[in-house]
Amino acid sequence: MSFIAIPQIMNFSEPLNLCSGDTLESYQLAYETYGQLNDSKSNAVLICHALNASHHVAGEYEGEGPKSVGWWDKMIGPGKSVDTDQFFVIGVNNLGSCFGSTGPTHLNPKTKKIWGGAFPVVTVEDWVSAQQRLVNALGIKRLCAVMGGSLGGMQALSWTLQYPDQVLNSVVIASAPNLNAENIAFNEVARRAIVNDPDFHAGHFYEHDVIPRRGLKIARMVGHITYLSDDVMNTKFGRALKNDSLKYSTQEVEFQIESYLRYQGEKFSEYFDANTYLLITRALDYFDPAQKHQNNLSQAFEKIKSKFLIISFKTDWRFSPARSREIVKALIDNKRAVTYSEIDAPHGHDAFLLDDPRYLSVVRSYFEEIFKNLEN
């Protein structure tokens, strides 16, 4: 049993200028905190979430039991790799999400209607700007670490570019300095599945009292395939059949893998918002800090001051080790402090959410070093 987590909301009335040129006049952020902020406010760690997660990083909700456990509870908590007995950990939900921060399911204050498809496009940089205001509002001048996996890793990297003096360490796991064409392609398939669902109504499906479930399900099925490795899929499912014998049907479920993907899609379509899915995959596509520097990542990193821990997983083909090594190389070119660990875990991209002991130990040891060097 994990500890009890309490979600909170903070409101911001200062307008946020977005990369797209749009402005969010006011907004709210959902967040959670675990552990105690020390007197010098030097032990704060910010956790950035990936595609379908939220501010609920660790712990359980009162009365909701183990099913409500946070998405990175294996990593974060009392006595864990990121030890909440030592660190003050902040989980924050990003703008455009459907879990509490201002997003497409909220009211547009100007039109008094649900934002829906009209919610402005947000980027990793916009999220980080919003997160920085939360950090400031909590009275924290400098984070001792910012950490995330996948899209969360992009935010952890972006922090060190946007606010180089406000982050001592950045922990970037199973991430990349930008998406490659194949990765954008997967996102586009997912988006097309949603947009082409007749229930989507250009993102204004709330008004029609429907949900584009079919699109969401397919989007999740595609995504899920890319989070696993070939080996894991074969070990877990292989060619196992759902029933005792073949039905010779093109429509019904024959193989276990089909059943699994349909189940994952079904589950996802019950809790995730279609507009949020579009927004978040777009934020992934747009992230590219080297772009303004003639596509030279080393040049883009000149302003970085933070130290880095970069981790990748050998069987991750969606965010392959080669992409993490690009980040490592650009840091080395700038003589920045970096430690890089390439974990030989079989689980593909999903490994960053799992509990491989080598992975958890490296993170633990890195945070022990951070703790030793904290200002008191």
Binding site: A337, V338, T339, S361
Partner: protein, 193 residues
């Protein structure tokens, strides 16, 4: 071989305040020593999970990479010193790695077991591959896949037009300059591209 004393001997060759890259850095002992005693900074490269973890534990910056995949990540002359201490004999592409060492480093320091050390020669004369304190492995399970001698390395350097700035043998952490190919279990070379 007394590890501490050997580290001190190697460290003597590294100029104060150098930016170093230690290829096959193990648990980070040498880098840690260089940081503490010679004001150096830099990175270790290591493939083994347990060693990587030890490096992180002592605050040594380590990069988990496979040296057999080369040093593409590092630019020309981007380090003052590239160290290859007891690594060369484990690498498939040993020649390339010696060349890469002096490409990436302004100087390279290479140390490896000298297979021409006289007890090894005796063992071969008796008809058996040497098993000694310095070379404790049986031929069938040794990680030492590139067995070379002090003299062999001189030839390799010559072939690749690599300049030997200094070279000596080490025995029981003592520097041996007389007949190192015969007398020293460990060969040490300071090289430049």
């Amino acid at each position: 071989m007394n590890k501490r004393a050997f580290i001190a001997t190697i460290a003597e060759l590294v100029p104060q305040g150098s930016r170093v890259l230690d290829l096959g850095c193990g648990d980070g002992d040498l880098l840690n020593y260089l940081q503490l005693h010679r004001g150096c900074d830099g990175y270790g490269v290591e493939i083994d999970d347990q060693n990587v973890l030890q490096c992180v534990r002592r605050g040594v910056q380590v990069l988990q990479l496979n040296l057999d995949e080369g040093l593409k990540m590092f630019e020309d002359s981007s380090f003052d010193v590239v160290l290859q201490i007891d690594t060369l004999q484990n690498l498939r592409n040993a020649e390339t790695m010696v060349i890469e060492t002096v490409r990436v480093g302004k100087i390279g320091i290479v140390a490896f077991p000298n297979f021409a050390h006289w007890p090894n020669r005796l063992s071969i004369l008796r008809g058996a591959m040497p098993v000694t304190k310095r070379l404790p492995y049986q031929w069938y399970d040794t990680p030492n896949i590139r067995v070379g001698t002090f003299y062999d390395f001189e030839l390799l350097a010559q072939k690749n037009k690599i300049k030997i700035l200094d070279s000596f043998g080490v025995k029981d952490s003592h520097v041996m300059r007389a007949f190192p190919n015969l007398m020293a279990p460990t060969a040490v070379f300071k090289i430049e591209g």
